[in-house]
Amino acid sequence: MIEVQGLTVRFAGITPIDDVSVVFPGGTCGLIGPNGAGKTTFFNVLSGFVKPAAGTITAFGENLLKMADFRRARWGLRRTFQTEMAIEKLSIFDNVAMIHEHSGAKRSTRREDVLGALEFVGLNAPPHAKVGTLGARERRLVEVARAVVGRPRVVLLDEPAAGLPDEETSHLSKVIQRIPESIGALVILVDHDMSLVQECCQTTAVVDFGKLVASGPTAEVLRNEHVIRAYLGTEETL
């Protein structure tokens, strides 16, 4: 479980996250909102790239904000980025192994764990293939494999289905749904594809202009009047 209390982030006069308090109970949790709502900033706070002006984040009983940024991966925090960040010059195997060896997992199980992660995401490309030679779908799966290898506790997925056709989004959806049960990690999914969020997430939080608009079971949240207004606007704003 991740508990966020009074989280505020300020960048020189802009407040991308404004006094947000929310709980991500477990399983797969959605985090949605219009562009510029503060979703990626929230991920950057969790990753340690951005220091908040106020607030606390407790993940599985530990104060996440006190950890050095690079130590959070060893603790069990993983993430993917909106833009692909798999390393082009390394092979698929090395891309995933690189995360494994900095995760504190046992060296003796590296090969087995890496191949297991590749199989988990359903990547059929040969492990020795350079990532630079892969297509968009396969690169996205490599990123997800990097996020699930080596016993993660929290997996942050930042728009993993962006740019993927429906068929591939459907495969990705099945992979994401299996993460909590098979890997044992809490997943926070940011995406604009509402059908993906509905399929994967038991609970969802909605942010707009840095403020929490609603949170709770996904079906209820998506029917929420404030959420609809935040996404579609109102007649006045139109």
Binding site: S47, G48, F49, D69, F70, R71, R72, A73, R74, L77, R78, R79, F81, M85, A86, I87, E88, K89, L90, S91, F93, D94, A97, M98, I99, E101, H102, S103, R111, D113, L115, G116, A117, L118, E119, F120, P126, P127, H128, R146, V148, V149, G150, R151, R178, S182, I183, G184
Partner: protein, 360 residues
């Protein structure tokens, strides 16, 4: 991890595919061993004294190019101070060789270790700077080294920290920097240098193929992604500087014993730029590229000047054109482009031959 149980067939397929690594590594190892055998046993029998001296320099400068390649090709840090580190390794090696009677391998290690410490200090700005700014800082370091060297000159067996005796300066009485007792001759020292350089290449290879290499590749791709992957960026950047400086320092010490009496005029600031150009032409993403860079840096000037009687400054034009070509069309350098060009040529010849052989 508790991933879904893998099916036996796909696991076997994946494992089989991984064996591809071993085959490729085997081919590379076989080529390396073959090349080593040729340069160690064949070349000394067919090449004259001048050539042997030049090949020794090729090996030494290949290591310097390797250091540049580790920093730029692997981590993305542009360091134009590698020749300055070579100079420091040469100075320290010379000083230790004159001041002590330590075995030569120990002198090499000490020169490498001291240069490594200096290189890490030079690398500290790299934690804050990158790209052009880091290139400028390291180039200024190279310039400062040239200035300090022109004031202090190289040790020549005198006393004090500088180890410089004015009376013995630049005369025939200045004793040469000692070589290993069993490798005093040029051919024996050439073989010694090749073996030491091969060990340094192996050291770099172990790093590149291992955990540091993967962390460096991650930093080069994206620092935020590397951080999110648990890479301690400060540690691994300094590690790259330490490794590049260590191997360059050892190369500097080898150079000191090769030339015997190192002179300040040998080491110019612009050499750092020439080295960067040749390293890029050779290929900074490959260990083999460093060897090509060494050949370009040392063998071509020898051929131009001593063999063909052409002004070696003409090489600057060639290096400039080569650098332009690499930057525009072949970022992987000659080591990457040449095999592709040969394959294309072979394909073209094969098609032409088939066309000619076809009845009209």
């Amino acid at each position: 991890m508790n991933a879904a149980p893998a099916s036996t067939s796909s696991s076997l397929a994946a494992t089989g595919a991984l064996r591809h690594f071993d085959r490729r590594t085997g081919v590379h190892a076989a080529v390396a061993v073959g090349l080593l055998a040729v340069v160690l046993f064949l070349l000394p029998h067919i090449a004259g004294a001048d050539w042997i001296t030049t090949f020794t320099s090729v090996a030494i400068y290949s290591v310097v190019a390797l250091g540049f390649g580790i920093l730029y090709g692997r981590v993305g840090l542009i360091s134009l101070g590698q020749v300055a580190l070579l100079t420091i390794g040469c100075w320290v090696g010379t000083r230790i060789a004159y001041a002590t009677s330590l075995p030569f391998p120990l002198v090499l290690l000490l020169a490498g270790a001291i240069t490594c410490a200096i290189g890490v200090v030079v690398g500290l700005p790299a934690l804050r700077l990158s790209g052009l700014y880091l290139a400028l800082i390291t180039l200024m370091f190279a310039g400062a080294t040239t200035v300090v060297l022109s004031v202090t000159d190289f040790p020549n067996g005198g006393g004090g920290f500088k180890g410089r005796s004015v009376t013995g300066a630049l005369t025939t009485e200045t004793p040469p920097v000692r070589r290993p007792s069993w490798a005093t001759g040029d051919v024996a020292y050439y073989r010694y240098t090749i073996v030491v350089c091969a060990i340094l290449f192996l050291l770099a290879l172990v790093h590149v193929l291992g955990k540091p290499g993967r962390a460096w590749a991650s930093i080069r791709e994206s620092e935020p992604a590397a951080l999110a992957g648990g890479v301690n960026i400060t540690l691994y950047k300094l590690w790259a500087f330490a490794l590049a400086s260590f191997i360059t320092g050892v190369a500097g010490c080898l150079l000191a014993a090769q030339v015997g009496v190192p002179r300040a005029i040998t080491f110019q600031t612009q050499d750092s730029l020439t080295l960067a150009a040749t390293a890029l032409i050779g290929g900074i993403f490959s260990i083999w590229g460093a060897i090509i860079a060494g050949v370009f840096n040392q063998l071509l000037p020898f051929l131009f000047q001593a063999q063909w009687g052409v002004n070696p400054n003409f090489l600057l034009v060639i290096f400039g054109a080569g650098l332009l070509q690499v930057l525009l069309t072949a970022p992987g350098g000659l080591v990457d482009q040449f095999p592709k060009d040969v394959a294309n040529l072979a394909r073209l010849l094969f098609r032409s031959a088939r066309r000619l052989g076809r009845p009209s």
